[in-house]
Symmetry: C2
């Protein structure tokens, strides 16, 4: 969607939060629509930000949404439509008359339109595409031709291109003429007659140059660009790394096909963080909103991880069964099973969480894997010792016969399990990364399995040793 | 740090990745410095991005860092310095001569300088501040006067301000003169003689207007701004929500004191996501890099959560002890303890993860808490049933005497625990949010406690019932 440079707002010096104000707009709007006062409804929407209008419309009953939408001026309607939730975009589309569809969808930013078309049923998309103007139909086909989640899909072809031989004043003229239709006028791209990217300059460069200089003199020929098939996460990473406002997208022949602006990257960064958080929590994602999926889909996304756990626990259960004689003799050993598996699980989770996040945000870059693992192992030993001492004391007092043997077994096992868990938690992510597998997805099951199974084995063998059974 | 509009790069059409190229630059640089060929070293750095030069320098041995740094031109040195890791910034500072410190630190962006001063020892900061020019010393005092993590601390006072009565061409002149010292020239701020913010306009607005129009005619009077004490997370949220390139920061008298640009927000979004991920994984953060902290600090940040777990497990252990007679009689019941506590823990983690993330990214906005909790409860019931059936079958076959009673107790407990876990996992975050506590930090201990303790109670009471003991 277009970068916002100017902004509207609600009356200043308000003492209520923006969130409450948005809610106020929505309830007022609904009330005015219910009594049919369209003039008043139109006027309360006037000073409100497009993003906020979109949220207000989403909160309305479906029947009122079209009416509210039609209150908007044409330019604002397009901006608001781009901001709407895809389910609302779809339902409006079905209610629009043919001309309205052309007006809105045709004038949308190509990248937003591509995103809309991804969500709509194919039949609806075909119908709309047929109504688009030829240029817009072409843009759409271009973007949708690229795989989802790549630079090609999220770029926009609406950039400002200049020729080397343009003077600064000619360029400013061109920019003035294009300013209403391009995504941004602050990053400018110099191409040759084959559309190959020759250089980049900024509006700041132009504005501070002499009017009679040529673009070729000012432009920067060292270009950072991405390819159409570059992963969106990498695009976000590059823009964040170099603090760019926009980055050019080229095809395999180094021809400029589009640009990606920083505002789209803000959303990507958040999306990717959500995916990582879900993966660490054991929930699969398809990129869709979890809260809009139905119950079966939710179950499907969560059951995988739980089935893996069931498997792990069957191994642990078998080990416990094999230790049946010891358990029968010293039932007190069973009291501490939750403590041991729980501690192992959490120490492992702590280590893997920081390592996986560190890999994704490049914070580990100064350290090699070995250094990280050793550090984590030492941390595990330190934490395990603290917990082990406290647990031993608690167990000795609690298991009131003063059965120090059991208490010792618990304490020493805790230290061993903590070290095991932190080493597994920190090393497995590196292993998976080197195998080109997603660490966030793969690590947890393996860490849990290793820690639970080995932990229980350590505990019981230690107990046998100490109790001399 | 200043927004990057133009960019440099490494030779095009390369077949190796940017990451490998960066590594290449670093190794080449080190080699050239070792043999003392400063001219060649200077030339290989020439086409490289400041961000990449910074990373290359960070990878050098400490003794070489100053030498490499002094190869850079003054302008580039400032840009590179702003990008360096704070530990390297500090060590360079100690090695710099007095004049070098003035040259670099004085010319840094105020917000980057504030960030640097946060990290340096107080004595070093005092020494440097004494060397700064009066204006820069004032900027520094201004920013450091605000609390860390607020708009005041991360803003920069280097913006372009215009007066209402300026014409477009006068404004363009002013912009040309300021273009080298301001953070951005794309967002422009109109103030009165008391520095009160009257309106905002963009360079796009100026460039598309008539040269003789006045700023007052073009500017937008509806302003979205933040206060100096606004939390940085909220600033990031607003910029992301409205797709702004920059946002003005005002004091309590609505006077303009600084601006925050979108590139700083990219870093904030990632920082905040890291904090959430750490919290969900049971690790405290102080905003510092985990991988740069020493062992004691790491242990301190992780031990809290583990001590809470120790407490929880002492309760669970007591419950198990109170069921001693049952356990002695049917030792097989203990085989399934890890399965039950493990499943409860993970179902609870799944629910709380998606709810907490949904609250932070505003994805839940369409649903009320009750609807979310009911949905999660149903998901828990569904998942629990699947797992319960599988577990019962496995337990019945595995506990080979065909002791269906134990198998049933396990299966039914699993269903109950899953429902309990998902309801607790989804409701507690809402509870903490309404108590103005951080859900990400507070939820996990309480969820785990509730699920483990109640889960074990359910299991054993159910077993007693079924086995009629």
């Amino acid at each position: 969607m277009p970068l916002t440079e100017a902004n509207h707002s609600i009356p200043p010096a308000s003492t209520i939060s923006r969130k409450e104000l948005r809610e106020l707009v929505r309830t007022q709007l609904q009330m005015l629509l219910e009594i049919g006062d369209l003039t008043a409804a139109k006027s309360i929407l006037k000073p409100v930000q497009p993003t906020d209008i979109a949220e207000a419309i989403e909160g309305l009953p479906e029947t009122m949404q079209v009416i509210a939408f039609r209150l908007l001026s044409k330019d604002e309607a397009i901006e608001v439509y781009e901001q709407l939730d895809s389910s609302v975009q779809q339902s409006l589309c079905e209610k629009f008359k043919r001309q309205e569809v052309i007006d809105i969808v045709d004038k949308m930013s190509p990248d937003d339109r591509a995103r809309l078309f991804e969500e709509l049923p194919a039949s609806v998309v075909r119908r709309i595409v047929a109504e688009l103007s030829p240029t817009e139909r072409q843009s759409t086909a271009l973007l949708l031709g690229y795989e989802a989640g790549t630079a090609g899909r999220i770029m926009t072809p609406e950039y400002v291109s200049l020729k080397e031989y343009f003077t600064v004043s000619q360029s400013l003229e061109r920019i003035r003429s294009l300013a209403h239709v391009t995504e941004t006028i602050y990053s400018l791209y110099v191409t040759d007659s084959d559309r190959r990217l020759l250089g980049i300059l900024s509006l700041r460069d132009l504005v501070t140059a002499q009017l009679d200089q040529s673009v070729g003199e000012i432009m920067n020929q060292d270009i950072v660009s991405v390819q159409t098939d570059t992963d969106q996460e990498e695009v976000a990473d590059i823009i964040q790394r170099y603090d760019f406002l926009a980055i050019p997208v080229v095809d395999s022949e180094r021809r400029l096909v589009g640009i990606i602006t920083v505002d789209d990257v803000l959303d990507i960064i958040q999306q990717e963080a959500t995916e990582d958080i879900y993966a660490l929590g054991g929930v699969q994602t398809d990129g869709d909103n979890y809260f809009q999926a139905n119950l079966l889909t939710i179950a499907r996304r969560r059951v995988v991880w739980l089935l893996v756990l069931l498997l792990t626990n069957s191994v642990t259960g078998s080990i416990l069964k094999s230790q049946q004689d010891l358990l029968q003799q010293v039932v007190a050993l069973s009291f501490f099973i939750p403590l041991l598996t729980g501690t192992g699980g959490n120490v492992g989770a702590q280590s893997s969480t920081v390592v996986i996040r560190g890999m994704n945000t490049d914070e580990i870059r100064a350290m090699g894997p070995l250094q990280v693992i050793v550090r984590e192992g030492l941390a595990g030993a330190l934490l395990g010792s603290i917990l082990g001492i406290l647990a031993t004391i608690w167990a000795a007092i609690f298991v009131v016969q003063g059965n120090l043997s059991v208490a010792l077994a618990v304490g020493i096992s805790l230290v061993a399990i903590s070290i095991l868990a932190s080493v597994a938690g920190s090393s497995l992510p590196f292993l998976f990364r080197s195998l080109k597998l997603d660490p966030a997805l793969m690590s947890a099951p393996f860490i849990t399995t290793a820690v639970d199974v080995l932990g229980v084995l350590i505990y019981f063998n230690l107990a046998r040793l100490i109790l001399q059974i």
